[in-house]
């Protein structure tokens, strides 16, 4: 398969992630959308890496996976403490401050 297919796939994943972050109101789904965006980048990087026959892209992917994991840890921790206080996963109810 040509490179462009992978790139289009990555771009589509990324767009789905962006739209998810911007439109969904459930905190967990928003977190998942962000993960989706990061994985779209991974797909893009790996396909470029394969196309260029250069390993650095794949190494970078490993870094991104690690970072994504720690981001998820922080994100989930925040979600939990928010749930303790408010008993909700809905972003619209998190509005002490003007958004």
């Amino acid at each position: 398969m040509p490179l462009s297919w992978y790139l289009v796939f990555g771009a589509l994943l990324f767009m789905i992630g962006v739209v998810g972050v911007l439109t969904r109101r459930n905190v967990i789904i928003v977190l998942m959308s962000i993960e989706l965006m990061l994985n779209a980048v991974n797909v893009t990087l790996i396909s470029f890496s394969h196309y260029l026959q250069d390993l650095r892209g794949q190494i970078f992917t490993l870094f991104i996976i690690a970072v994504a994991a720690s981001e998820a840890a922080i994100g989930l921790a925040l979600v939990i403490s928010m749930y303790r206080g408010k008993s909700t996963f809905n972003l619209d109810e998190v509005n002490v401050l003007k958004w």
Binding site: I34, D54, G57, F63, E71, V94, W99
Partner: protein
């Protein structure tokens, strides 16, 4: 990697390593010091003392590298050059001032000192690596390092909804923008086959522009635009700054912002600096700068909370520094560094006053809480006026000198309109900065307003920042010369 190269790299990154070790020491110390009861005061002082000593050491290491030949270490991942060294010094200064101004806050709000100061130090480490990175991978990791530390810092007051909400919004938009930044890196990697900034700029000069390259550039602008909070990527900033603990807000307006500008300088002034590429991004940046100055200053006028007003003011000031980026000349790059130092003093100082006036539970942030401060606390009111006038850009303060350098750089590149917008929006800004002064001096205080006793550490933080604001305003030459020398290599000839 060979041992010699490893050793050389370690020596080159000594300032970073010092900060890292200090952070780890603070973290471990926290395990052994008594968290409650009689030993609590001692634990706090010990943590703060260790942090300050570590930062002083790091500052000394950074100074020792001044004037070194630029060299890449760790296989081109990091670089030691004037820009990195200058930023290292600035970041360490920001961290030290934050420790000073937080000391009182940590006690008042009962924050565990170990985690607080360790996070400050780890965030500082992240800043420093942003300033020293010469590879986009490295830069991404560094940005994530400081971002994660600041997400946690923003949510440190776990029991207050405002703090949590601030942390969550910061986290969401932070990781959202990181994804854009990453996607930009991936695209550039695909277009040119490298993520090293020097290799990138060479490859670009050889191959010229391509759609993929421009897309990558655009994505990087979006990603970093979020980090700097430049309009239209600013909407997270007011909420996050307002909700975060005030000491953390102070840190966030100075540190992450300066780090993001370090990244912008590295990527755009250094990586995409060649004329063929700068003509692609400079017009975009010019529009962003104009929008940021206009929106930041105009929206700040209608705010009811001083903290939120300063959040918008922080957006506006990013706009001024952006003008210098648009100028894209040696004077401009130097003036960004100068502006960041000046803004650090002004902003940290103003937030220190905010923190003191807010009193216990960090509540009193509306304008009316400042009524009559001139009568009840003349010294505090006088110093707050100094910071307000400095932020508004009155001479002889650092705020004026900074704007002057920025606008003269813009004029030098022919961006008179941008300079004019900058100067006129500064006039607008007088409206809301002066409002604080008006309230402090021209209104009667609340009947029950008590005289505030200042903690010695707060006095120290205020003295240092006030001295910085005045010194940089009256004798800007020295620091500016250092800044100019640090960026001279970006614009040879």
């Amino acid at each position: 990697m060979e041992a010699a190269a490893l050793l050389e790299g370690t020596a080159a990154l000594l300032p970073h390593i010092t900060v890292l070790v200090t952070g780890l020491v603070v973290l471990v110390l926290d395990l052994f010091l008594p968290p409650r009861g009689l030993g609590q005061a001692g634990s706090r002082w010990a943590t703060e003392a260790v942090s300050l000593v570590g930062l002083a050491l790091a500052f000394a290491c950074a100074l020792a590298q001044a004037g070194d030949e630029p060299r890449a270490v760790f296989m081109g991942m990091a670089v030691v050059d004037g820009l990195g060294t200058f930023f290292n010094a600035v970041f360490v200064l920001i961290a030290a001032l934050t420790v000073l101004l937080s000391a009182h806050y940590v006690r008042r709000e009962d924050i565990r000192p170990g985690e607080y100061y360790a996070l400050i130090l780890f965030a500082t480490l992240g800043f420093m690596f942003v300033g020293s990175s010469s590879d986009l991978v490295m830069m991404f990791l560094a940005i994530e390092t400081f971002s994660m530390a600041t997400y946690i810092l923003a949510g440190l007051l776990r029991d207050t909804p405002r703090s949590l909400e601030s942390a969550f919004k910061y986290f969401m938009l932070g990781s959202f923008s990181s994804a854009f930044f990453l996607y930009g890196i991936a695209t550039l990697y695909g277009a040119l086959g490298t993520t090293n900034l020097l290799a990138l700029s060479q490859a670009m000069s050889a191959e010229g522009t391509s759609p993929l390259l421009l897309m990558g550039m655009g994505l990087l602008i979006v990603g970093l635009g979020f980090k700097v909070a430049v309009v239209p990527f600013h909407m997270w900033a007011p909420d996050v700054y307002e909700g975060a603990p005030t000491a953390v807000t102070a840190f966030m307006t100075a540190g992450p912002k300066a780090a993001a500008f370090a990244a912008l300088l590295r990527v755009f002034a250094q990586g995409f600096g060649a004329p063929a590429f700068s003509e692609e991004w400079v017009p975009i940046f010019a529009v962003l700068a104009a929008l940021t100055m206009l929106l930041g200053n105009i929206v700040a006028i209608v705010q009811q909370s001083v903290k939120r007003m300063l959040a918008y003011s922080s957006i506006a000031h990013a706009g001024y520094a952006f003008v210098a980026l648009v100028a894209h000349n040696a004077a401009g790059a130097g003036s960004i560094l100068y502006y960041l130092v000046a803004y650090t003093f002004m902003s940290l100082g103003a937030f220190t006053v905010l923190m003191i006036v807010a009193r216990r539970d960090d509540q009193r942030h509306v304008f009316d809480d400042y009524a009559g401060l001139g009568a009840t606390n003349p010294a505090l009111a006088a110093i707050m006026s100094l910071f307000m006038f400095a932020l508004a850009g009155f001479p002889p303060t650092a705020g004026f000198a900074g704007k002057f350098y920025v606008f003269s750089a813009a004029a030098q590149s022919g961006y008179y309109v941008l300079a004019l917008i900058g100067v006129l929006t500064s006039v607008i800004s007088v409206v809301y900065y002066a409002r604080v002064v008006i309230l402090m001096y021209m209104h009667e205080p609340d009947a029950e307003a008590p005289r505030i006793r200042l903690a010695p550490t707060s006095v120290a933080a205020l003295s240092v920042t006030a001295f910085g604001v005045l010194y940089l305003g009256i004798f800007p030459g020295g620091v500016m010369q250092l800044a100019a020398r640090s960026v001279a290599f970006l614009f040879p000839g």
